[in-house]
Symmetry: C2
Subunit: 350 residues, 2 copies
DNA sequence: TTGTACGCGTTATCAG
DNA sequence: CTGATAACGCGTACAA
């Protein structure tokens, strides 16, 4: 590997000059044009690549962020990741990504590894499972700028970027109501989950505004399970239950897309048609939502936007720390408005 | 940030002793137990975290791999990633992941960034788009151990890990044939794509073995488009075309799941039922395949396995370079056997 | 333009 | 046996 010293020797100047010229530092103005050119040429010829490790050591920054995901296969994660990557690319930061797989041990080990690598900031793409495990402390301990994306941790104190769940729930209800649905079944999220509570609040808010009564027997709660794809099974199972009890409903609002997809499976397997016999609405707009037939109507979380806003927030915090302008990051969660995507699983009341 | 010097001072020993003890180096045997304990305790109390940048600089290794993905949202990528992460976690390597988004410029920039960061090896999760752009040279240039996953680049010279496409094609045909299907439509992959060619070869091999004639009019080729999700649209469009021409077929074998999902959409929208009127088989077994209704029958690529094998291969190559045992990595592509997953989109000929 | 101390941990060599 | 000293890896930045 060719070092800056090699280049210096070959160009017959000092390493200082090489560094100055290659970085186009202010002092480069005082370097003779001919010398500059020579250095540039030699460096290229020799295929010199500065060692970022050494640079980071010296500059005390790594141009690196750590991203902790709860499950890389979850489309929610990858959506956020895409946005995060984009924002990082724009400022030439590189991400370490660590897939926690919903395991506490991994979370802690990865966190340690990332800190040892001197990442400048941390992004945590979370789901409800991050709740049980009180890793929040681990996060709060380290002074390093951190942002949580995707779910609201009660009193975590960590800056958060989320979708406006309440608005989403409201919009979904509005849509179903407009189509004439009055008997609506709900597959709510796990009870302790803040997001679930907020979505439900949006639903209730809408119902109140239209004096629509929500039938308690049509409201079921998802258990909180560790596997993200288990949402599918849960949705299928709960819907099957509803069907088994002969409950009447013409529409179903699911906690998220995975749940909705499971619900559809149960409906179709019972010989019902979606949306003719029952409309279904999801939440998230993960990739599979659009790929199934019929395509899922859902409340789209602006995943890429969540990711990029989160990165911007972390970067801002990093700068704030550097400049010691302590009025760094907003304490309030950053809330991003979702968007209803009407596709094929909803239709007028049959 | 607390450094090794701080710990040394606080434990009243030299930095050397601290390093030796904390790393449990061979020399640690010669350190008095009491001293050891003191160092350990002080280090923990002070929350000392070794600076991996400095360590890497000294040891001339980074314990880091670079992973280039063509599109982080593609379920194929994330499947491979999961396996890769797992294998890396086992040896405490951390991945930089760079999402190329099928853009040449990004590929080159990221590649440069990764090399500057002294990643020890490179993993390229590729799809057909990596073909057009002759980035292979860029890869071959750098001496750094590299493995390509997921698609076979003709004469690239870069070690590759792939699924046995031919076996997969064969298995899919076998399944359809056993169900009684004889009029089978094919949505082949892009013509220049090696994987597509191999799958097709598997199909033909089976047909020959049963003296089954393949109707040329039922064989269509996908265009090669840049967006991974475009496979869906292409599948839908080509199937629509087939239907429009009133071609008779009782089963359809798609290039991959995305294509298959698109085909199903077209079939259902034409009033046909899957699998009653037409069976459909995909290839890959990406997550959405199992989530749709009906669930897709498909040839599963062992994605995690591809990822972990790829990482193991890179690590092996890294070690080979270090030990200068030049008989490093196999020149032959590593081929992993796929598995037919029978779900709901295939049934006996109607 | 250059010399050189510095950032931080590792390890070979040396002294007690 | 026990521990310290110092060179090293590489690029940066300031004084000269």
């Amino acid at each position: 590997m060719v070092t800056i010293r090699d280049v210096a020797k070959a160009s017959r100047v000092s390493t200082a000059s090489v560094s100055i010229v290659l970085n186009n530092a202010p002092l480069a103005r005082h370097v003779a044009a001919a010398t500059k050119e020579r250095i540039l040429r030699v460096a290229k010829e020799m295929g010199y690549r500065p060692n970022v490790l050494a640079r980071s050591l010296r500059r005390q920054n790594s141009h690196t962020l750590g991203i902790l995901t709860f499950d890389i296969r979850d489309p929610f994660c990858t959506g956020v990741l895409e946005g995060a990557f984009e924002a990082m690319y724009a400022v030439s930061y590189l991400p370490f990504v660590a897939d926690v797989r919903n395991e506490r041990k991994r979370f802690e080990q990865y966190l340690e590894m990332l800190l040892e690598r001197r990442v400048e900031g941390l992004l945590v793409i979370a789901n409800w499972l991050f709740m049980d495990i009180d890793l929040l402390n681990d996060l709060a301990q380290n002074k390093i700028p951190t942002v949580i994306v995707g779910t609201l941790m009660p009193q975590s104190g960590v800056p958060t970027v989320i979708t406006d769940n309440e608005a989403g729930g409201y919009a979904a209800m509005e849509h179903l109501y407009a189509l004439g649905h009055r008997k609506i079944a709900f597959l709510r999220g796990p009870r302790m989950l803040t997001d679930a509570a907020l979505r439900w609040r949006g639903v209730r808010a809408f119902a109140r505004s239209r004096k629509l009564r929500l039938e308690p027997k049509l409201v079921l709660d998802l258990p909180s399970l560790p596997d993200p794809f288990s949402g599918f099974e849960a949705g299928k199972h709960l819907t099957g239950q509803l069907l088994h009890q002969n409950r009447r409903f013409t529409a179903l609002l699911a906690y998220d897309d995975m749940t909705a997809l499971g619900a559809i499976r149960a409906l179709v397997q019972s010989g019902l048609s979606v949306p003719n016999d029952c409309s279904v609405v999801g939440f998230d707009d993960i990739a599979p939502a659009a790929l199934g037939t019929p395509a899922l109507t859902t409340v789209r979380q602006p995943l890429e936007r969540l990711g990029s806003v989160a990165v911007d927030t972390v970067l801002k915090a990093i700068r704030a720390v550097k400049d010691k302008t302590l009025h760094g990051v907003a304490r309030q969660p950053l809330v991003i408005v979702p968007e209803l995507v009407v596709r094929e699983t909803t239709g007028p009341r049959g």
